[in-house]
Symmetry: C2
Subunit: 121 residues, 2 copies
């Protein structure tokens, strides 16, 4: 519900599926999404937008073609528009994503890990 | 610096002034800002944008004209565009703000608590 207090831990308790972002809030035409991730995602690109990754609990490696961004709890990174990336988590990691409404998790890559991009909890 | 890992605690350690948001990252034309707040802010409105408040450490009351939104660590609230609000923190509270580049902290109200709206750390 808009206009309510959003508690991250309470929201994380509502789902368990990996690589399946859940929308928890909107700000203008942007969405804040929670995700639980584990294992290796697909290489993909968002051609039209930057993408914010905030690690709420755990560790996440964001592989870029020229380096690896290692994030731990309380750290964030902005993947620039058009930059190919592949998130990898050795064990379950809880993240907050911020991006415009309508962004698909697998970007241009598609494939079986493509999730509903407007699933609210 | 864009393209670097951003650690919230390290960023919070870099400033102490209250009610003076510091930009830590940009995503498209949006900014993520950290602020330390304590005491009572001014009633104000952002006529053109929603505003995200995330409490990173502490407690924050966001007074609206018809109710008070009480936020603790790990909770967030989106103040809708055009809704008058007044943040109040009984003791120091660390927050993350997300809003378009160029938003002034005191909105239409102005006054002595108006901070530089593009101060990076």
């Amino acid at each position: 519900m808009p206009n309510d207090v959003i508690n991250f831990n309470e929201k994380f308790s509502q789902f368990s599926k990996h690589w399946s972002p859940k929308v928890i809030a909107e700000m203008n035409n942007y969405q804040l999404k929670l995700a639980k991730v584990e294992g290796e995602f697909v290489w993909h690109t968002h051609e039209d937008t930057d993408e914010v990754f905030i690690v709420m609990n755990g560790s996440l490696a964001i592989h870029l073609r020229d380096r690896v961004i290692q994030l731990n709890t309380g750290e964030m990174f902005v993947v620039p528009k058009g930059v190919e990336h592949k998130p990898v988590a050795q064990s379950e990691c809880q993240i907050l994503l911020i991006e415009p409404r309508g962004v698909v998790n697998t970007g241009q890559a598609g494939g079986k890990l493509t999730a509903d991009n407007d699933c609210w909890i």
